[in-house]
Symmetry: C2
Subunit: 371 residues, 2 copies
């Protein structure tokens, strides 16, 4: 359990004793280090770490994050940090989510889904290689790992074209294995964030399971995109791994062809080497890696703001389903099983992400409840 | 100016002296009635009306809203209410927007756009008459009337299929005339809101201008829907007219064919007779009415939650562009001028909504700044 949660990681979350008030904390091994005593150490404004969410910390920006990280690490190394066993604590949602954006940045996933949904056409639509396609998801139903997922009901596609739609619990309940970033200070309306400045606005990363009802989605999604097929729940891992902890795992991104427009160009290595896996009822059914995403996170943030929209502390930007190109490397069941296997009531899905034995993203888990 | 803001209206907003703290208020004529002194009168928890937004009031639900409305009306009638001239105050965004959902509920608008975007097919897609099509918009860039609108830049459609996209300021900047509702207490995740209970969750209504960059939107929107073509700004009118003030203007909705599924059926009259107009640089260019919307607000809220997603106080649900079926009744420029006229820098758009000489929604205004 504690593997990858040593001094090189120190991710941020919010914990509570059962029935107690939510408290920001850092994870160290199998313990939580409550942060309330660190405001003075790190020179942060009073109240920054009072909870119930991390947003006030996110608003302060990278110098404050670095100061806090150094202070926490210092006290742990000195043996003076309070350590509370995680076994007695509940995980809470660590952020108040402002806007939740979901991208579609894996070329293998977009190709696989294009083949399924538009079998007679080019699988990738003409815009896909020119911009990181994305849309807004629902912020209210972002939940922390461990929250049970109620099977949604809704309108289902008509049995034959022209007939009335069905209605009932989804029979094609799926997962989407994604990596998400949580934003820091943000920008004023009208001032885009360049790829060069993107990292200053990224606090850290979580695993995301973007639960999806494929039948509801297929019927509703034209022409304005997914709505109820996605909005019933999105789960995130409880510990936000700071970008600083992921620095050693930045690797070159795959080549992009054609070259993207200037506002999407980057210098340096912005793919993240994070091994990912999907576990279904105790069996690992897929393994892939975040480094194979076509679009990188600085590109995603630069694109999302090129029209001047404002990012706020606590926004969540997810990568879209991460699929590889071999057998058992897909990030959704519809790809893994070609539509023959979806989630049953009682199924448990655990997504995991791990850089090496020093740094892990931990896991995001959820179990399906009947409709 | 004060027409329609008498005792029968009493809408809610947030005002501030220049540079001052935002304060919840009710509008009466050309004055604001600050609400901070009304907590005890109306039996509301301390802090409910302290600002900076109305969300704590929204969370309390209909009995609290009715008590406050009666208390404000009572003091105005008794001549003991504090009246502050609006001329010396700034309007602020009255709510912290949770999720922003945009529907597509005018059959004339959906038909007009379907004809333009898919000239060789049925203008209405197969799902349209079965459910209120909608999607999530961006919450961070919802702004109050009067906020200038910066012309967005972005990727523009390739001149010819297969060529590279362009980039630059949008040349097809448009408006969308919409009516929006702001939600009250909300529901727990997993428990849909029925059409029968919808009104208990609707605090009141605002006018919405869902600014749209048609060229950016056309290139980006497949397959996941509008994103940057809409996310740069959405303007709302400053005064939220409570549903209670709109009760006299509830009228029968137009017939729906086919009958919608049971969860979308309603009893009673749920269309709202609100005359709407679009003014462009001082000239009224379109007049329509909200009562002609195909889908009603209880249907929209029941649909949005049928999968169990949770509504929060301060969510904004907009109708989609409201267009009529005659000349000069369309709610967007692309429909009014068939693509030959979009917004120029310096253009000012004012949308107005009015029930009768007692109750008005006021206006939402915005002026275009250069990119």
């Amino acid at each position: 359990m504690s593997d990858g949660f040593g001094l090189d990681n120190l991710p941020y979350g919010v914990v509570a004793t059962p029935g107690g008030a939510p408290r920001p904390a850092v994870r160290f091994g199998d313990d939580a280090v409550p942060l309330s005593g660190f405001e003075a150490d790190a020179g942060l404004p009073s109240g920054t770490l009072a909870g119930p969410v991390l947003n006030p910390l996110l608003a302060l920006g990278r110098p404050a994050w670095a100061a806090l990280r150094a202070a926490v690490r210092g006290r742990i190394e000195a043996g003076t940090a309070e350590l509370v066993p995680l076994a007695g604590l509940e995980q809470r949602l660590p952020i108040a989510v402002g806007d939740y954006v979901d991208f579609y940045s894996s070329i293998e996933h977009a190709t696989n889904l294009g083949r399924m949904f538009r079998p007679d056409a080019e699988p990738l639509l003409p815009n896909w290689r020119h911009l990181p396609v994305g849309y807004h998801g629902r912020a209210s139903s972002v939940v922390v790992s461990g929250t049970p997922i109620r099977r949604p009901r809704g309108q289902l596609p008509p049995p034959e074209p022209g007939q009335a739609p069905g209605f009932g619990p989804t029979t094609r309940l799926d997962i989407e294995l994604e990596l998400g970033f949580v934003t820091g200070p943000g920008n004023a309306l009208g001032t885009p964030i360049s790829t060069r400045r993107a990292a200053d606005h990224v606090f850290g990363f979580v695993l995301v399971n973007d639960w999806s009802a494929r039948d509801i989605q297929r019927w509703e999604y034209v022409p304005l995109g997914p709505f109820l097929g996605k909005s019933f729940a999105t789960s995130i891992s409880p510990w936000i791994v700071p970008l600083e902890a992921l620095e050693p795992f930045r690797v070159p991104a795959r080549a992009q062809d054609p070259d993207p427009h200037e506002y999407l160009r980057t210098e340096g290595d912005w793919a993240l080497d994070i091994a990912l896996e999907v576990e279904l009822n105790g069996e690992v059914v897929s393994r892939t890696n975040a480094k194979d995403l076509y679009w990188t996170f600085p590109q995603q943030l630069a694109h999302a703001t090129i029209n001047g929209t404002n990012v706020r502390p606590g926004d969540l930007y997810a990568s879209g389903t991460i699929s590889g190109d071999g057998a058992a490397t897909q990030g959704s069941l519809i790809e893994l099983y070609e539509g023959r296997r979806f989630l049953e009531d009682g199924d448990t899905v655990v997504l995991r992400g791990r850089c090496d034995d020093r740094v892990t993203l931990g896991e995001v888990a959820g179990t399906i409840l009947p409709a």
